[in-house]
């Protein structure tokens, strides 16, 4: 077997596991997705009409790149957004000094890292990396109690949200965010502490 035959053999595997979900079931689920989007869009429009969107500069979210070409309000402006134009992630500095990160897509980690640092969180962010954090970062020994002070629970979150309290970070510690995967399932997010340094966390 030469390289060409090897690649052919590998390629041939892709059609050997059939997807058994019927198209009708997919379309039925698609209708539910579409209906949910319409309801969400209507709710957002009503909220905007009622003047609920409060323009407080300090609370404006910094957003990641749109997942599709956006034609409309600029990112970060309090305006009605069609659900199809959700940003990959959003960072919001909250009144109590906490910083919330909402993840819709694992995309543009460098931008998220830069935004977190600008929000006062020394951070290292990597997505789809083979390591939990870059090789130039070092683990910070953190107890579960310490982690629970830095990363606050966010009950009832409708999406992937992590709330960080920078003031609870121990001296010399920063935050890392990355995706996790395991061979049995799913890619998710993980958060932990690393030793703060210019190269690793920006400060």
């Amino acid at each position: 077997m030469n390289d060409s035959e090897l690649l052919t053999a590998v390629r041939e595997q892709r059609n050997k596991i059939p997807m058994t979900v019927p198209v009708a079931q997919v379309i039925s689920r698609g209708r539910a997705v579409r209906a949910r989007r319409r309801i969400a869009g209507l709710a957002a429009a009503l909220a905007a009409a009622a003047g609920v969107a409060v323009a407080v500069t300090a609370l404006l979210p910094a957003t990641g790149p749109a997942t599709r070409p956006a034609a409309g309000p600029a990112a970060g402006r309090p305006a009605v957004r069609a659900p199809a134009r959700l940003a990959a992630w959003t960072v919001v500095k909250q009144p109590g000094g906490t910083v919330s990160v909402t993840i819709h897509e694992l995309y543009y980690p460098a931008g998220l890292q830069r935004t977190l640092r600008a929000a006062g969180v020394p951070a290292s962010v990597t997505f789809y990396a083979s390591r939990r954090y870059p090789s130039w970062c070092r683990a910070y020994p953190a107890s579960r109690a310490m982690l629970s002070k830095v990363f606050l629970p966010h009950p009832g979150a409708a999406t992937t949200v992590i709330v960080i309290r920078p003031s609870a970070l121990p001296a010399g510690a920063g935050v890392y965010l990355n995706d996790t995967s395991n061979p049995y399932g799913y890619v998710g997010l993980s958060a932990g502490l690393v030793r703060a340094s210019m190269r690793c966390t920006g400060s």
């Binding site: 058994t20 897509e105 543009y108 996790t180 995967s181």
Partner: protein, 169 residues
């Protein structure tokens, strides 16, 4: 690219198996991969006017399926232990289970690749994306894609053609 949007059902029939296999290579579990891909196709249907004109709609589906995984994080598992990838290769989770007729040694070799190499192999070999599209989808440089692919092929060669490795020494 195409000037006419394809029919969704036709697209689903033509793309579903490749998308399933590509996601399976990343997540390692057939049932989970099937759920994710079905959800991604459902979202594609809901936005078919846009997705149907996407230059690489299969890649859109795969990327959406992988992003859907994030919701699992809601279960507050901030740290998920990562077992030895070799374990899954020897188990039944990745081999397609009943009804699958994949080549077990090839699947085992694929699942032993590091995640990033698996992703590159899946996009380049199974979805037939070019280097630039693969790089854009993974958010890495084209040269890095080529490096990962080269290492992956070397690892596959080592795993599946050991006799040739020895000959070349």
């Amino acid at each position: 690219m195409g000037t006419q949007r394809p029919d969704f059902a036709e697209f689903y029939r033509a793309a579903k198996d490749e998308c399933l296999f590509t996601v399976l290579i990343s997540v390692g579990d057939r049932d989970a991969a099937q759920e994710l891909v079905a959800e991604a196709f459902a979202r594609a249907w809901a936005s078919w006017r846009t997705v149907g004109e996407h230059p690489a709609p299969r890649a859109w589906v795969v990327r959406t399926a992988l992003n859907v995984n994030i919701s699992w994080w809601r279960r507050r598992r901030r740290e998920v232990p990562v077992p030895d990838p070799g374990l899954v290769a020897d188990g039944s989770a990745a081999d397609g289970g009943a009804g699958g007729s994949v080549d077990p040694p090839i699947m085992a070799a694929l699942m032993r690749l590091p995640l990033r190499q698996r992703q590159v192999v899946a996009l380049r070999l199974f979805l037939d994306l070019d280097t630039d599209h693969t790089a854009a989808m993974l958010g890495i440089a084209p040269g890095t894609v080529q490096a990962h692919l080269g290492r992956a092929i070397a690892a596959l060669r080592h795993a599946l053609m050991p006799e040739r490795q020895q000959e070349s020494r």
